[in-house]
Symmetry: C2
Subunit: 192 residues, 2 copies
């Protein structure tokens, strides 16, 4: 079978790269964020994982609010920069033009194709990280990224991170339709 | 600025497509799973979001164990099939050749390039979904997918899902290096 154990600190799934926006001691701050997922269908909720040593962890605790911003391929360098320098040492408040939705401490980046503002509803404390669950209050996008009323990944051009090889990846080709391609497989099973 | 509100039930980030493996009433079961993330650095922990109506939710409650399997591009149809039919109605136990690591109720799929076995440590109950946090006990990969000791995304060929357009995507080109490209930006800031 040829299966071998590999580093069990798995980072090898591609994660969509985002930028986490907070207010840190009253000042706008951003950090690179990869560990996040939807956690509830209705209402729409997003969960994000932030190391307890990160300044953003303290920021979210204080305000109970955050934004998730999805950068495009042409923002690789500035996004990675936000992951390299800590908000406790470097002022990142002037890096981006920002705007606000209905929350006061969830700054959103104008140049990112998609912006999400969240209000914390639960916090799960884990050994080294906090998992903040936030209700999605609003999602914003630029009109230029929208097709048929929905943000279009081919226009947004988000990018991915894999670890521990630490590489960024573009999104590739459309290779199928969900909730559709599986019905072909079902038909084959029935036919067989 | 041209920002508009879009469907706030955001699905538009690309998620890596996986297959969740469980034992349902003693029988092997799989479902398509997209909502998952790392939730702790050390020890390595993974969080997965499963709707309370899914048979897999009940399965994980009963056994406290699950597997996450990362299919490759050539498995689009069978993966999507696992998301279309419910384990409460259709027996999916014979779909894949499976193997086990150290857990008894975390069946892993031989044909998937990466398999992860997890033991539940916490469960966060949300309105429509449960968020199961599992400690990663082991990660397995086929030797043919490994480069320099690590699973290699270019060999694994995982794929992504975007919603609500419901499209599957391949991984594209390598467009940068994390914790490296940002230092170029830092140099520019210093230079300026």
């Amino acid at each position: 079978m040829g299966k071998v154990k590999v580093d069990h600190s798995l980072f090898c799934l591609p994660w969509t790269q985002t930028l986490l926006g907070t207010h840190l001691d009253g000042k706008i701050n951003f950090m690179a964020l990869d560990w996040l997922t939807r956690v509830n269908y209705s209402p729409a909720m997003l969960g994000i994982c932030v190391n307890k040593m990160n300044a953003s962890n303290k920021a979210i605790r204080e305000t109970g609010e955050f934004s998730v911003n999805v950068p495009s391929e042409d923002m690789v360098e500035i996004t990675d920069y936000c992951g390299i320098v800590s908000g406790s040492k470097v002022d990142k408040s002037g890096l981006f033009e920002v705007y606000y939705g209905e929350l006061k401490a969830a700054p959103m980046i104008v140049s990112c194709p998609v912006n999400i503002e969240c209000k914390v509803t639960q916090t799960l404390e884990l050994p080294t990280n906090s998992f903040f669950v936030g209700e999605i209050m609003n999602v914003f996008s630029g009109e230029e990224y929208i097709t048929d009323g929905k943000p279009d990944v081919e226009k947004m051009k988000p990018f991915l991170l894999t670890m521990p090889d630490n590489r960024f990846w573009s999104i590739g080709k459309n290779i199928g339709r969900a909730w559709k391609d599986g019905s072909r497989y079902r038909d084959k099973l029935k036919g067989g």
